[in-house]
């Protein structure tokens, strides 16, 4: 049988999927062991026990200096920034995107500008944001917005423009005015693509969050990673990276499930991604 026709069973699929994870873990453990055999003080590849101890210290022991649980504090601070940033981007994308996609005059006005704006490398705006908004929360949130909103807006505008002409004619023959067409056709029909845009936007959002936190913050996951880097504290950095990855994964799945459950009509057959 040809390779392209050999399909793994359900169990085999899970096993195969777990394989690369297990391989990386194994290779890491061996490498760590080897380095520790040579130098028990090695900091570059901490053992899994050392990382567990670091997590215990960061997440489950109150900090000696402040009495708070550092890792949760960092998590909350970062989630708040990315949450507000993505919320602002989502609202902007929905409002501007639908306006651009639905109303030819607004499209003519805004499309070139949004297109040009989306080409600015967001990270180069960061110094400007710090100068304008100071080193507080606003600049970090603004960076996430600058980095995600233009692309999300273009996605929503495209989704709006992709609504078939037949449907627009039909709803007009049902007597709808422009605003009703927005509320009853464009918004609901664009929602699946908006959720897709949020999922896609979260990827750069994390990059900009960590970048902004690395440069100026007092707490946050990115801040902590760059802080402990000075002490070569790989035993903290690696669990933090894993933790960020887990949060990102959970958020992505949550939006996917939201779309599946809340917008059943858009997931008729085959599902997506």
């Amino acid at each position: 049988m040809r390779l392209i026709n050999q399909k793994p069973s359900r169990i085999a699929r899970y096993a195969l999927g777990a394989l690369p994870f297990a391989a990386v873990l194994l290779i890491y453990s061996v490498a760590s062991k080897l380095r520790h055999m040579e130098n028990p003080q090695d900091r570059l590849l901490p053992s899994l026990q050392q990382m567990a101890a670091a997590v215990e210290r960061m997440a489950f022991t109150p900090s000696k200096r402040t009495g708070e649980y550092t890792m949760w504090l960092d998590t909350l601070a970062s989630l708040e920034r990315i949450g507000i940033g993505m919320l602002v981007s989502t609202v902007l994308a929905l409002v501007l995107g639908i306006a651009m996609g639905a109303i030819p005059r607004i499209r003519a006005t805004l499309a070139p500008f949004v297109g040009a704006f989306s080409l600015i490398p967001p990270i180069t705006v960061l110094p400007i944001l710090f100068i304008v908004f100071g080193l507080g929360e606003t600049a970090k949130i603004a960076l996430i917005v600058v980095g995600t909103a233009p692309v999300m807006t273009r996605t929503v505008a495209q989704a709006t423009a992709d609504v078939p002409d037949e449907l627009l004619v039909k709803v007009q023959t049902l007597g709808a005015n422009s605003w009703q067409i927005v509320t009853r056709v464009f918004v609901p029909m664009v929602l699946p693509r908006l959720i897709g845009a949020i999922r896609m936007g979260l990827v750069p959002a994390w990059i900009f969050l960590v970048s902004a936190e690395a440069i100026a913050a007092e707490q946050g996951l990115g801040y902590r990673i760059f802080l402990v880097r000075r002490y070569l504290a790989m035993d903290v950095i690696l669990p933090y990276v894993a933790w960020i990855t887990i949060i990102a994964y959970v958020l992505d799945r949550a939006f996917y499930l939201l779309s599946r459950k809340g917008l059943r009509w858009a997931h008729g057959e085959g599902g997506a991604l």
Binding site: E166, T173, L174, W179, G268
Partner: protein, 278 residues
């Protein structure tokens, strides 16, 4: 009395003449079918009737008044596809026109008003044979069921004219027959005027009270774009909107209509239509 009147209509696209010198007057209660080769401009003609496009020359009158240059509830429409809203259940698709009429702000009703509207469309849901599928989304329906829904939705506001753009073109022959029965039934019940574009000549003969053929009458080999299509044949088939007693009241009037041979002199003429143009 004529519901729809087209006077001296012509359409050019970038110097290409698509339609020319079209005069047509459709009587109230008529079921007017339009056939023609693909690319002959019959879809363009329908878009003009809808108000999606403006003619280069001439005018279209509905009840004696020029139509506004955008789609309006006086002209209902069913397209071959994308005729229903994928994000609304079957029932909500039928309720949508009423919600739009009654909630001028959001276009959405809540609570009692919403339940009321859903109750009002229950009868229509039954008439288009979808009462068992009321809560399903269009994506979960077959092509024929989607078109039933589209027709039902187009009728909610009782348009003066129902425009059909190859509505059954993508359906299997068996389903098509059912759809013919449905549309004839609804046509008789409502007494509305129907204007249907199709490429299925048999269908056009079966359903229509009047058959209109679009074709190019003139052709200049040195300037193939100089002349557009116009009405080459205009055949009365049956009296418009016959009394209900004239038609079998059985569940399948389309089958009955199919068994009635079309007017003997009309059939061969249509067969020759493609070559008939000089």
């Amino acid at each position: 009395m004529s519901v729809l009147e087209v006077r001296g209509l012509g359409v050019d696209y970038d110097g290409v003449r698509v339609l020319e010198r079209i005069d047509l007057s459709v009587a109230a209660g008529a079921f007017c079918t339009v056939v023609g080769a693909s690319g002959c401009g019959k879809s363009t003609f329908l878009r003009i009737l809808l108000g999606q496009e403006r003619p280069t020359r001439g005018e279209v009158l509905l009840d004696g008044v020029p139509i506004p240059p955008e789609p309006m509830p006086d002209r209902g429409v069913v397209f071959q596809k994308y005729s229903v809203f994928a994000h609304l259940s079957v029932r909500d698709n039928l309720a949508l026109p009423l919600e739009i009429q009654r909630a001028r702000g959001l276009g959405r009703l809540f609570g009692r008003a919403r339940r009321q509207v859903r109750a009002e469309v229950a009868d229509l849901l039954h008439r288009i044979g979808l009462e068992h599928a009321g809560d399903r989304y269009p994506g979960q329906l077959s092509g024929g069921m989607q078109q039933r829904l589209a027709i039902g939705q187009a009728l909610v506001l009782k348009p003066r004219v129902l425009l059909l753009d190859e509505p059954f073109g993508a359906l299997d022959p068996g389903i098509k027959k059912d759809m013919h029965a449905l549309i004839l039934n609804l046509w008789q019940d409502t007494g509305m005027t129907v204007f249907m574009v199709t490429h299925d000549i048999q269908e056009a003969f079966q359903l229509g009270t009047r058959l209109v053929v679009f074709d190019k009458l003139r052709h200049d080999p040195h300037a193939p774009r100089a002349f557009g299509a116009t009405i080459t044949y205009d055949l009365p088939l049956r009296p418009p909107q016959p009394p209900a007693a004239d038609r079998p009241a059985g569940p399948d009037p389309a089958a009955a209509a199919a068994s009635q041979p079309p007017a003997p002199d009309a059939a061969p003429e249509t067969g020759e239509t493609p070559d008939a143009a000089p």
